[in-house]
Amino acid sequence: MTDDQLKTTPLNAAHRAAGARMVGFGGYDMPVQYEGVLAEHRWTREHAGLFDVSHMGQCKITGADAIAQFERFVPGDYAILKAGRQKYSLLLNAEGGILDDLMAGKPDHDGLYVVVNAGNKDADFAFLRDNLSGDARLTVLDDRALIAIQGPEAAEVMEAHEPVLAEFGFMDCARLVLFGVDCFVSRSGYTGEDGYEISVPAADAERIWSEILKDARVKPIGLGARDSLRLEAGLPLHGHDVDASTSPVEGALTFALSKSRKERADFNGADRILKELAEGPARVRVGLSVKEGAPAREGAEIADMDGNIIGNVTSGGPSPTLGCNIAMGYVPPKFAELGTELKVLVRGKPAAAEVVAMPFVAQRYYRKPKTA
């Protein structure tokens, strides 16, 4: 795809004015960095980072059958999800492969609000249009921008603008007026930090972006740091760490399979997924700490201690927080136990690696204290 075919978000001019380096990602001209990936990564872990994620796909699924229809293709229980809550899930094909990962929630009393990945959104929306039946309608919200603020100071920053946001716990969501306009907001993100994702009308995006950036605790953060932050948080990137050939069990995403849905086995690919749960998958996504040498990146081979190739790295790189190289990849389950010593081959050179728990860096989501 050439640059002039790239789409732009409502914040494109703001990124360019701020001197961002722009790259094509998911069909959009996006900021990969402003001052530098490492500095932006650290700023987000220590303060608050502001991300333009307007390239992602936003939609509503409404109608009397919206939830029942949506549930045919995702393994989460959305029928019992309370109003004002959202849930991570997976759009599954008939073979149980992951077409996309997504967030879906009930911010208002009108069906579901769903956010999907930029690179998959056209296919996802086409899939849903083709497959939703009965009284279930897909409405693409392409007149909206999506802004994420992430980091330990994100909550204080946002509460200064909109005190109501202090009442949100992790994965709470709502449709309400923020900055004087109609927004969808959730306390969630893709960095492992506390923070919010706010869907705003496209026409108001630049004003709200600049308003939030006036706070000295906030800096704009590019996609480069977004990737290294999500890697440290152990969060998969669709198209790399999981794809249409990967099941939720292989992808180590079994937390997304609701108990009630497994019992009912009434979602796409349930046969394969339940079989893998019972018998174990052929391969599983693990975290690796790479103890020497160059960063092990997507495509690097993983070998056992006898030198047999057993799998591949699906994403990896330096962890600015830990100061070592980390990676995710697939290995047969017998090599997936924490502490298993393996090798990764980078440009043919074996480097020592160890299977470690994900997230690599502890998540710091805000959980509301339980009320008595």
């Binding site: 990936v37 490492l38 500095a39 480069g224 160059a294």
Partner: protein, 121 residues
């Protein structure tokens, strides 16, 4: 100092060429997190990939601007790869090569020609 279109630089002292990547290249890469330099004794041909430089996001090959024998790789970059960003055309050098064919240097750009080349990118 002379430059290649792949953004390496060469500085010649007698028959020894010190080689690195240009400030333009270092800035374009962003934060350098890993550098693999060649070992002494390795012979390289002009255009061969003889080193690797990695930013947070990607690994890039560094090509030999001249043919010859490596007499030293910059071992300091192993523990301090950020030197490539801080001083790309000085302490961030990659290797010293004993030049086998000095005439290869003639084809490289001087600073003015390289700046001119950058302005066309």
């Amino acid at each position: 100092m002379r430059f290649t279109k792949d953004h390496e630089w060469v500085k010649v002292d007698g028959d020894v060429a010190t080689v690195g990547i240009s400030k333009h290249a270092a800035d374009a890469l962003g934060d350098v997190v890993f550098v693999e330099t060649p070992e002494a004794g390795k012979s390289v041909a002009k255009g061969d990939s003889f080193a690797v430089v990695e930013s947070v996001k990607a690994a890039s090959d560094v090509y030999a601007p001249v043919s010859g024998e490596v007499i030293e790789g910059n071992a300091a970059l192993a523990s301090a790869p950020e030197t490539v960003n801080a001083d790309p055309e000085g302490d961030g050098w990659f290797a010293k090569i004993k030049v086998s064919d000095a005439s290869q240097l003639d084809a490289l750009m001087d600073r003015a020609a390289y700046d001119q080349f950058l302005s066309t990118l």
